[in-house]
Each structure stands twice: as C-alpha cells, then as structure tokens.
Symmetry: C2
Subunit: 187 residues, 2 copies
Amino acid sequence: MNKRILLASASPRRAEILTKMGFREFDIIPAEIDESIIACAPDEYVLSLAKQKAMHVAKSYEGIIIAADTIVALGNEILGKPKDEFDAKNMLEKLSGKKHSVFTGICVIDTMTSKTICDYEKTNVYFKELSDNEINDYIKTGEPMDKAGAYGIQGSACIFVTRIDGCYYNVMGLPAAKLYSILKTIE
Amino acid sequence: MNKRILLASASPRRAEILTKMGFREFDIIPAEIDESIIACAPDEYVLSLAKQKAMHVAKSYEGIIIAADTIVALGNEILGKPKDEFDAKNMLEKLSGKKHSVFTGICVIDTMTSKTICDYEKTNVYFKELSDNEINDYIKTGEPMDKAGAYGIQGSACIFVTRIDGCYYNVMGLPAAKLYSILKTIE
C-alpha cells in the first residue's frame, strides 16, 4: 500500500498494533470528538464514534484514514474510560468474576476514492474473581486510567483474564485481522 | 513472593509474560532436555515435557521453578518448532483457513517444600486463509523459526488470527492467569 496512512487515534496501543501489522510509516492525527456515552446498543455506539472520528480527520487530510473506538459492555451497561481512581475501582469490582464484551468499531476512509468501510468486532472476556488487594495494586500501576473498562489486557491485568472468545487485538483497541481484511478490500 | 524465581526456559516471550505479571526479578535457567515428539496426546506431551524441564532445573537450583512447554495440535498431528524455512512453510499451509489448538503445559516446583503443581491450558486458534505471498512474506520476517507451529501470535502473524477461544498468553507460551493461580496455591 503506497498511500499515506493516517491513524485517527491518540492511543499508543493502536499505533503499536499498526506497527505489528507491518505498517512502517503512518501519521497520528487524533480526532477530538464528543465521546459522551449515549443510550444505544454497544455496536451502534462504537460504529458511530469510529465513523465520526474518521470523517473528522477526512475534512482536513488526504490518505487512508483509520479510526476506531472501543468500549466495554457489561450486560446493558457501557463502560468507557474511568473518570478517576474511584471510578476505576468501581469498574473493576463490576468486572470481577464475570464475563463482559469488548466492542471496537472501525472505520476506514480512502479520501481519494471516498470509499468508506465501517465494521465492528466483539470479543467476550472472562475475568477471575478479583480481591480488594488485587484491584488496589492494579490501580496503583496507573494502567487503568486511559482505558475503556479500566484495564489493559496487554499489561499486568493479564493475570485477571482467564479466557477470551474472539479477537485479542480487538480487546487492545484495534482488531488486526479485521482491519487487514478491510484494507485489502479498500485497496 | 520473596523466594527466588527461576524460569526454566530460554523463550524471550515467557520472560516477557513473567515481567508483565509483575515479577521484577527472576533468573533464566534453560533446561536442555530431549524435546523429540513422541506419540501421545498433546496434553500428556506438554505436561510431561514441562515436568521434565522443571525437575531438571530442580536438581541443581533452589527456589520456585517455573517450566513450560508449548505445542500446536492440528487434528491428530503435533507441530513443534519448524526445522527450516521449508518446514515452516509446510506448517503455515496446514494451519491456513483452519482451527488448531495450542497446548501449554506448566510445572511449578518449590524446592524448599518439594510442592509440585503441574497443569496445562488449551486455546483454540482460528486462522484466516493464507495466500502464498502472505506465507512467504511472513517467513521472510524470520519470526516462524523458533516458535511451535511456525508463528507467533504477538508479532506480525496477528493479521492471520481471526479469533481465539481461551487464554491468549497460553498461545504466546505461558498462560498468565493459570500460572498466577498456581503460584498463589504453592505460596
């Protein structure tokens, strides 16, 4: 792929996954949009946010724009990034011993052809029962604060996750295999 | 845990996972044992190898010894590390478009108490259909050569894996959540 790649995200995990996928050069253009969680289904929510982010960047830049949005769904509740440590603790207590789902919406726009592909991926994640000490120690690492659901599967929360059903990289914030197949289609 | 931790493995992935789990200090003591694949079930094979590795290190060292062995099972066939690039290509062609299972056996010995716990973890991994180009490009990265089944899920083969059912870190070579629970029991 010879076109300029733009990642519409400030997440270092997403940049790391793009690099793993073999992209040596891409530009990071975070899209500042309102991420307040509105009442809708998780898949609709992440699709809408990813599309808004991609379109925001498409207004000012040319190339292949990749945008994504990730949330954690526990039953009917949507968990975004925690507001503070108290909120993080509350989220982790909710996830303890339970299954939740991680949804990532992705939207890819080729500004030269205006081709746009949006899709989402869902992964079920199973947490072991967490003790108060385990939650407090994890919060002390600082890892929960910039992550949906207050954990990162790629960090020290690895000991919390007994199994996943679905794409691992989706839980990290960017479903690599799905993005790869979208890029193949849009090329 | 204040006891000395010994990782009976030369795999940089296993050391990386132990670090993720929060272990700041451990010694790496690779166990040289015969890993030739014998005719037995995958779970028996990895359990036996992990135990042999741990016992080998326990002969000469004191502490908490952690050993592991990982293989890929495709139907009745067991895939270890590829012998050469030709073998790697052959393995990747077999895995293309199919589900396989990754088995990791782990064995933990506390040499002070002689407590020994062995267990294994199984994760199903689904590969997309791979083209000849994709296989050749992947082999050129050099990543397949030291890995069971000729791929590493944590590297550029991330685009091959559409989903997994089970523990991700098991596919990388060390099931973090299971090891954590074994260490809690042995403490």
